[in-house]
Structure formats: C-alpha cells, structure tokens
C-alpha cells in the first residue's frame, strides 16, 4: 500500500520470515513500517496502535509522545478523526489522569478578581463551534534540506477538527480584564521533568485573545478530547500554528507587560523575512514569534511513482487550507508549473478548515510526469515554488510535487 509520500511495507515485518534481524528489532506492537520519504533518511517509522484512545499512528517518539497522522487519513475527508489526530508534547510529565469533578481553570493576574472555574462553570458560558486546522510549526520538518534537528515529521503533524467550546473572551470576562493588560499567558497541566526547566507556556496579545474567535474547546468532532490531545480543555487559536493551542489548559494569566518566557522569546521564533526563509548558516537575522499559518495543499489519492493510464481521465483529489484565511482556489499543473488548471472545491466548512478539492486530469504523453498542487488563499497569498529554509524547520509551504508514471 502506498499513499501520499509514504510507503507502507507490511511485508518487511509480517511476511518475510527470513528477516530475523528486522523482526528482532521491532516489538510485537509495531504492526507495520512506514517510510516517510525524508531526504537522506532515516525515514522508517513504526505504525503503532498501543497509545490510549489512538488508532494506527506513526511513532516519532514515545516519551514524551510524538505521534504523526498516517497520510492516507487525509484522503478520507476534511475532518481528522480524534483517534488518528497527531500528538505532540514538549515535556515528559504530561497529564495522564483528569477528574472532571476536581479540575479547575484559574484566571488571574491583571484582572479585577481571580476566578477558579469548574468544567461546569466553563460549559455554562455561551457555546461556540468552529472547524479549524491545527498544524505543528514544524510540520514537514523532515523534508527540509539541509536537514535540521527536531521532530522529524513528514506532512502528518496537522489535523482538522470541529471544535466545540467557549470564547476565551467570555472566560476572561468572568475575571474582568483590567485596563493596561498587554498579553494573556496560557499554561497547561504538563510540567518540566526537571524542576528548574522552563514550564511550557504561550501568550497571545490581549486584543487577539479577546477577538471572539480564540476559544477554549471541550470537544473535538463532537466528543471529549483524547487526553493526549489536551483533555479536558484546549486553547483553539484559529489560523495560528499549534504551538499556541495549549493543551490541558488550566491556568490563564493576564499580563501587564509582554511575556518574555523562554517559549515566547527564544523557542518558536522565526526569521522576520518573507516565508521565514534564510540561507543555511545566515546569522544576524531579526527573530519574531511564529504566528499565522500560510496556505498549503496536498494530493491525497495519488502516491509517488504511481502509474496513471495514458489518455484516460484520472480523478485527482486532495485537501488544501488557506492558513489564517480561507481557500480561494487550488490549481494543478502537470507540466512543471507552465500551466495550471483550477480544481473544483468541495464543501466550505469555514475559512480555517481543510477544504477538499478534485480535478479530472488526462495525461496523453507517456513517461515520467510531475503533478504539482498550489493553493491561493482569499488574501491572495500563494504557495511558493521554492522551499523555505530556517534552522528550526518551521513554516514549510512550498508547492508539493508528486512524480507519476504515465503508461
């Protein structure tokens, strides 16, 4: 089986009785191997099914868990199932037990009164619902060249869900934000392994936090969140990278000065250049906190080096998202970008959602061809032809290309 840029090779583990070395190196729960196509390798990963509330996932790291969504999941629809939604934690001390009766969300700092809200209190606030893509800042990092250290994701550290919850603004209003507030700092139940390590916290500017779109979700796709995805409450920052989507949110602090904690000031910063792009080795660049997402699009039903019949229409389909705004159009090229054909867009689930697209193509000339897919968002921002590079492997959104064999 071979989908997207990955190749499933069950025979390597399940069928080749002679491969004693391989069998010995793979635990019984590693059901199959996926190859992520990362340049220079290593690109073999186990598909595992033993993480709680999770179906088959690509194991990037077990502790703290980094689980990638197998790419074929994105062909099934615009909403990523909770049991295959990717997982990413920073510190190994993650919440493994939450009692819904005892859980409290604190709001304190530059406010009129500190409040401690039960889940019942939170759920009593006006309910809102929104479809939104959650994408790791480093999604596709493993495809950077030259390669950079960090989680070596292929394209599966992203997902789209319908989030149900309350506006952050309404939660802040329970405490009453004082004038002079500058930022809102979000903290979850995860903790550093070492006591003096920097606790993972993220901040949003006060106007952003109160824009009525940023929300606190208690459900994804109609169900409570898996613990590994941030049960019981997760911050939703539509259009922004997932680093801000604090999981197991338990503490909100209103600040009267900008947050200079490590996770804002140093980590998750990008070069302040177009596409966060610099040359390898380039120094002296102004760095800013990563923020809005950029448009991306993928073919989901044609694998690399798949054979397509000459002279016969092939229905090509996939997903796209606009980043911090909607998808305006998705175009496909089969002539290395010389000409582009507009794809038909699927149902609009909201501007922050994945959007499906499809297009019948007929390739007449036999031989090797490349299919390229390109999203333009409603602000006119378009995917670049050249990949960006930065030392953290952030914000990849180059036009994706898939080689096919016309025969």
């Amino acid at each position: 089986m071979s989908i997207g840029n990955m190749v499933f090779d069950r025979r390597r583990v399940l069928g080749y009785s002679g491969l004693a070395l391989l069998a010995a190196s793979r635990p019984a729960w590693a059901q199959s191997i996926v190859r992520l196509g990362l340049p220079g390798g290593p690109d073999e990963r186990s598909i595992v099914t033993n993480f709680p509330h999770k179906g088959p996932m690509i194991l990037q790291r077990s502790r703290p868990p980094l689980l990638e969504t197998p790419f074929e999941v994105f062909d099934k629809g615009v909403f990523t199932p909770n049991d295959q939604f990717y997982v990413r934690w920073h510190w190994a001390v993650i919440p493994t037990e939450v009692d819904v009766d005892k859980f409290r969300l604190a709001v304190h700092g530059h406010v009129n009164q500190t409040v401690s809200l039960s889940l019942k209190d939170v759920m009593a606030l006006p309910r809102v619902e929104m479809a939104a893509v959650n994408q790791c800042s480093g999604n596709s990092r493993g495809l950077f060249e030259p390669r950079v250290p960090g989680a070596q994701w292929a394209n599966g550290s992203m997902g789209n869900a319908k989030w149900t919850g309350v506006r952050l603004k309404d939660v802040l209003d329970r405490a009453g934000v004082k004038s002079g507030a500058v930022q809102v700092r979000l903290n979850g139940l995860d903790e550093p392994v070492v006591p003096d390590g920097p606790d993972f916290m993220k901040s949003l500017d006060i106007d952003h936090a109160r824009d009525g779109e940023v929300m606190i979700a208690y459900a994804m796709n109609g169900e409570q969140l898996p613990l590994l995805n941030g049960f019981p409450l997760r911050l939703i920052v539509p259009g922004w990278y997932a680093t801000y989507w604090v999981k197991a949110l338990s503490d909100i602090e209103v600040l009267d000065k900008p947050d200079d904690n490590f996770w804002m000031k140093t980590a998750y910063t990008i070069p302040d250049t177009p596409h966060a792009d610099i040359k390898p080795g380039q120094t002296g660049v102004k760095m800013v906190p990563i923020n809005k997402m950029v448009p991306r699009s993928f073919i989901t039903n044609v694998a690399p080096n798949q054979k397509l019949p000459a002279g016969t229409p092939t229905q090509v389909r996939g997903i796209a998202f606009g980043g911090d705004t909607g998808v305006a159009k998705v175009d496909l090229s089969s002539d290395d970008g010389k000409s582009w054909q507009a794809a038909k867009l699927g149902k609009d689930e909201g501007k922050y959602s994945f959007r499906q697209w499809e297009l019948p193509i007929t390739l007449t000339d036999k031989g090797n061809k490349t299919l390229m897919i390109r999203c333009t968002n409603t602000d006119g921002d378009i995917q670049p032809a050249q990949p960006n590079w930065n030392p953290s492997g952030f914000m990849r959104n180059v036009i994706e290309a898939t080689s096919v064999i016309v025969s």
Binding site: P27, W29, L38, G40, G41, P42, E44, R45, V48, N50, F51, P52, H53, L59, Q60, R61, S62, R63, P64, P65, L66, W91, A92, I94, T96, E97, V98, D99, V100, D101, L119, K120, M123, A124, P126, R127, E129, G142, R147, P149, A151, Q152, T164, P192, V193, V194, D196, G197, P198, Y218, A219, G222, E223, Q224, L227, L228, F231, P232, F262, T266
Partner: protein, 107 residues
C-alpha cells in the same frame, strides 16, 4: 498496558438551542497509561548517552534524527543543559557529542 478508568460522571446539558445539532455532551474523567518504548543506545560510548539523555526523552528522538554535523550536536547538547536544565556533567559533553556525531543513522 492500556487502562482506562471511568470515574463518577458529571452531566452537563447545553442551553444553546440556537446552535444546530446542539446535544448534551458529557465529559468523563479519564486516566491513561502511556506506553514507553524502552530503547537504549548501544555500542562503544553508549553508556554516557544512556546515563544522560533518556531521563527526559526516549532514545527514539535521537535515533530518528538525520546525520548532523558535530557543531549541531554540540549546540543541541548545550541547549539541553542550559535551557532545559538537563543535569549533565560538563565533562560528559565531549563524549556525548562524539557518540551522536558518529551515530550511524537507522534506516
């Protein structure tokens, strides 16, 4: 390995009839065990890496990294010590960096 405990439930009903498909959502207490793949580093010089690196993250994090230059591994080690406060003895750093730089990437 996997264990899910359902503690006493609380029922919360939504009062939001204006939203299509509004339904009662019940949050249930949850408890999980997260599996750990207890892979260790092997070969000459692996002791110092096992002793210093796997307390905070599993070996898989390192074994999935691409081939990286010595300077990059040194910067990673320094980051672990000075930013993430990993209790690593300074005298161990050269041996750790040496092991990681020579690490033969898995397939």
């Amino acid at each position: 390995m996997q264990r899910t405990i359902f503690l006493p439930l609380l029922l919360f009903a939504f009062a939001a009839p204006n939203i299509a498909g509004a339904q009662t959502l019940t949050l249930k207490s949850d408890s999980i065990d997260v599996p750990d793949r207890a892979t260790m580093f092997t070969g000459p010089g692996s002791d110092v890496v096992n002793n210093n690196c796997v307390a905070c993250h599993s070996a898989g994090m390192i074994l999935t990294q691409p081939k990286l230059p010595e300077a990059t591994w040194k910067a990673e080690a320094e980051k672990m010590i000075h930013v993430y406060k990993a209790p690593v003895d300074d005298k161990d750093v050269p041996a750790i960096v040496d092991y990681l730089t020579k690490l033969k990437a898995a397939p």
